[in-house]
């Protein structure tokens, strides 16, 4: 589960970097944007499930430190709440930063 979480995390970072570049360009092919958005959304759902399962497994094996991952389940929703289209690049950067942090923590659990 931990390995899967790491892979999904890396993919999410890459996807958001592509989004970040496009948000700076402001010009994007709608069909590509649709596929990217869909892929991003699917990854995000898997990411949440992986983190929650990692926390649950952590509890089963008495590794209560995994509880810190809960922070990364909540932050995308907090960022989403405050994000606005005008400041999309800034908020995408914040999201990427949180993903890098979660990746670092996941690697530490290995």
């Amino acid at each position: 589960m931990l390995y899967l979480s790491i892979v999904i995390n890396v993919l999410l970072i890459l996807c958001f970097i592509i989004c970040y570049i496009y948000s700076l360009k402001k010009v994007i092919n709608p069909k590509f944007k649709a596929k990217l958005g869909l892929f991003l959304c699917g990854l995000m759902i898997i990411y949440f499930f992986c983190l929650i399962l990692t926390i649950l497994f952590g509890f089963i094996f008495h590794n209560y430190l995994t509880l810190i991952l809960l922070l990364f389940v909540i932050t995308p929703f907090i960022i989403g709440y405050y994000a606005s289209y005008k400041k999309i690049a800034k908020y995408t950067f914040i999201q990427i930063s949180f993903l890098v942090m979660s990746l670092t923590i996941l690697v530490m659990f290995l």
């Binding site: 989004c19 496009y22 948000s23 402001k26 709608p30 069909k31 944007k33 649709a34 990217l36 958005g37 869909l38 991003l40 959304c41 699917g42 995000m44 759902i45 949440f48 995308p76 929703f77 960022i79 989403g80 709440y81 994000a83 606005s84 289209y85 005008k86 999309i88 908020y91 995408t92 999201q95």
Partner: protein, 278 residues
């Protein structure tokens, strides 16, 4: 005449003040007054003053539609309604897709509307072209993904007639007649508006005509049937089409749609004339 000039013509209001009867038209989501052009000219030829404005954020760049909310669309329509209503004895509102939802919204908040004509009312996104990925919406809407998620325009353009579809595809490429995708934020706005309209539907008391295709690719007949079932209007009429998709004003049954609208409008004009004679 180029397409752009025609759009300007609609923006500048086709007026014929002495008749004192008018129709305020609303276009669909990510569309523009261009899609109401034929309908507007049809109504104008029948003696109605026709007004059709572009919704906030529509008809321009994608950036602008991302920054507007459904309340902006409602406030805009209400403003236009307030501005125009006092000049006319008979005032109808009509719309397609989002426009139909807005027309019903106006009906809920204004008791002095003579009649509503709702075409392809979109209160539920459940047409046969809606992808299964729409179930991802709750996650996308609450995260930053909402700004990166979009629904590209379906290849059928909401039109069953292949010839019309091809010409629409060409027009979409060369003019500012609409967007080629539906940003998620915008779809979310439509869903919130639909929820609000459904909640207050009983407040509609004016006569209403709903025209909806059985094979609408974006919204099934559920929305239109919901409206007809729940409005408090004494006069309500539901017409179902069976050879069109969502864009009923451009599809195989466009003439039937316009004639049905004309019949509905004429009922009021005749009633008014009879009342005058009496």
């Amino acid at each position: 005449m180029s397409d752009n000039i025609d759009i300007e013509l609609l923006h500048n209001e086709i007026t014929n003040i002495q008749d004192k009867k008018a129709v305020l038209l609303f276009h669909g989501l990510t569309g523009s007054p261009f899609e109401m052009k034929k309908y507007a000219h049809f109504l104008f030829d029948k003696g109605y003053d026709v007004f059709c404005y572009s919704f906030p954020g529509h008809g321009n760049r994608i950036d602008e539609i991302e920054t507007v909310t459904w309340q902006d669309w409602c406030n805009f329509s209400q403003e236009k309604y307030n501005l125009l209503r006092k000049s006319y004895n008979q005032f109808f509102v009509s719309g397609l897709c989002l426009g139909a939802a807005i027309a019903v919204y106006l009906g809920e908040h204004n008791n002095d509307i003579t009649g509503i004509i709702a075409l392809s009312t979109t209160l539920f996104l459940d047409g046969f072209c809606i992808p299964w990925t729409v179930s991802f919406l709750p996650v996308a809407l609450n995260t930053i993904v909402k700004f990166y998620y979009t629904f590209p325009e379906d290849e059928c353009y909401g039109v069953k007639n292949e010839r019309t579809r091809k010409s629409l595809a060409k027009v979409m490429l060369k003019a500012d007649v609409g967007m080629d995708n539906y940003p998620l934020n915008c779809v979310a706005g439509l869903l919130k508006l639909s929820k609000n309209v459904r909640k207050n539907i009983k407040k509609v008391t004016c006569p209403i005509l709903c025209i909806h295709s059985k094979y609408d690719n974006l919204a099934s007949t559920k929305g239109a049937k919901f409206v007809i079932k729940n409005v408090s209007s004494k006069i309500k009429k539901y017409v179902e089409l069976d050879n069109s998709y969502h864009m009923v004003l451009y599809d195989n049954e466009k003439i039937f749609v316009m004639n049905t609208v004309n019949e509905f409008l004429n009922e009021f004009v005749q009633q008014k004339e009879l009342a005058g004679i009496a």
